[in-house]
């Protein structure tokens, strides 16, 4: 029963994929390439590339891709449901606990300590996004000359955000148009 297999494989990915994003990659690869042979290694690499180019979590992208490939749209839905079910249940419990004990001293104290930690985490995501945009890689020792168009776009965007508080969604649209002009049209 291919639907059940899809569901169970992605349930495991959803249950053990701590750390989100790329931390879950080896886990997905193991299920999809090694255990079930649903994709070749080459195809899996393409899914990772595709995930970087599309919105949404990589685990959801992978489950949709594999599900569609193996069993059509229904397969995609079943694989995705399996993938998000464990975390939805766990987060639901967290949400209940948070609501109930929000005003309690211990939870309040822990949350207050965690907030700057989260800001630090978002900071590291920002640095890796900047490196990726400027140099095409986010590993320090692979850095070569920067992509000056990206640097310019970043600087202009940052200025617009700080100075005029422009909406991020509008900015992204502008970025797409700028990308089309600078990378697409001018360099063809």
């Amino acid at each position: 029963m291919v639907y059940l297999e899809l569901f169970l494989a992605f349930l495991q990915i959803g249950l053990f994929g701590f750390g989100g994003g790329y931390a879950a990659l080896p886990l997905i690869q193991n299920q999809v390439v090694v255990t079930h042979h649903w994709l070749t290694l080459r195809e899996f690499a393409d899914v990772v590339t595709l995930s970087q180019m599309t919105p949404g979590p990589i685990a959801v992208n992978a489950s949709t891709f594999v599900g569609t490939r193996i069993a059509g749209p229904l397969g995609a839905m079943i694989a995705t449901a399996g993938c998000i079910l464990p975390s939805c249940l766990i987060m639901f419990i967290f949400a209940l606990v948070y609501k109930r004990y929000q005003k309690q001293t211990l939870l309040k104290g822990v949350m207050e300590t965690l907030r700057p930690v989260v800001v630090g985490l978002i900071g590291s995501a920002a640095v890796s996004l900047i490196l990726l945009s400027f140099f095409g890689t986010d590993t320090f020792h692979k850095i070569t000359s920067p992509d000056w168009i990206a640097v310019l776009l970043f600087a202009a965007s940052f200025f617009a955000l700080r100075k005029w508080k422009i909406s991020p969604m509008l900015l992204m649209g502008c970025g797409g148009v700028a990308g089309l002009v600078f990378y697409g049209v001018l360099q063809l």
Binding site: G14, F16, F18, G19, G20, G21, A23, D46, L50, M53, T54, G56, P57, A59, V60, F65, T68, A76, M77, I84, S87, C88, M91, F94, A95, K99, K108, G109, M111, T113, R115, P116, V117, V118, V119, G120, L121, I122, G123, S124, A125, A126, I130, S133, I149, A150, L153, F154, A155, F158, L161, P168, M169, M172, A178, G179, F182, Y183, G184, L188
Partner: protein
């Protein structure tokens, strides 16, 4: 919170839009969420949003989906949770279903790559901007411990490539320790 007409429909549409914008990883949802739910709609407080991110990171699964569970439940109970998760999952589900048939064209097309490169530079700026906004209150008020924790979390993930789950768990441990310590001190002072 009082529910206006079409509340669940709106919630769905907002989450759908947010999810469609999270190009480049889970944390990209933070600036978009802050802009919409905190700054424009005033549905949740900034501290609350950071708590949701912390909790999302400590459970398995994608940060964006986990955060949408928290936000959905907070705003509309169980029905809100379901609506919010559907809104978050649908954009990648629809897009990838279609792209799985034509993906080789998509990943090799130079024009698409150009558009995405432009968007990526802007997204990097959007996330950098939210980091400056979130970090500056801690730095301005000179909360020593908070600044140290922030820097340590940053270095751990950015430089030493520690999995973010361990960073959050360590933060929780420190938080429990400090809170218990404070309570004990408070009790002693109360007695004497």
């Amino acid at each position: 919170m009082q529910k206006e007409k079409y509340f669940y429909f709106k919630l769905f549409w907002y989450m759908f839009r947010l999810s469609a914008c999270t190009l480049g990883g889970g944390y990209v949802i933070v600036p978009f969420m802050r802009d919409l739910f905190v700054d424009r709609l005033h549905w949740i407080a900034e501290e609350e949003m950071l708590d949701y991110v912390a909790l999302s990171q400590s459970a398995p699964g994608a940060v964006a989906v986990n955060a949408s569970v928290m936000v959905g439940y907070r705003l509309g109970g169980i029905r809100g949770l379901l609506v919010s998760v559907c809104g978050t999952v649908l954009p990648p589900l629809l897009l990838l279903s279609v792209l799985s048939y034509v993906y080789s064209f998509f990943i090799t097309n130079a024009v698409i790559a150009g558009i995405l490169k432009g968007m990526q530079a802007c997204i990097a700026a959007v996330v950098a901007d939210v980091v400056v906004s979130l970090a500056s209150p801690y730095i301005k008020t000179r909360k020593f411990l908070s600044v140290v924790l922030m820097a340590a979390a940053f270095l751990a993930v950015a430089v030493w490539k520690v999995n973010a789950v361990y960073v959050v768990l360590a933060g929780m441990g420190i938080g429990i320790f400090l809170t218990v310590l404070k309570q004990k001190r408070g009790m002693k002072n109360g007695l004497s």
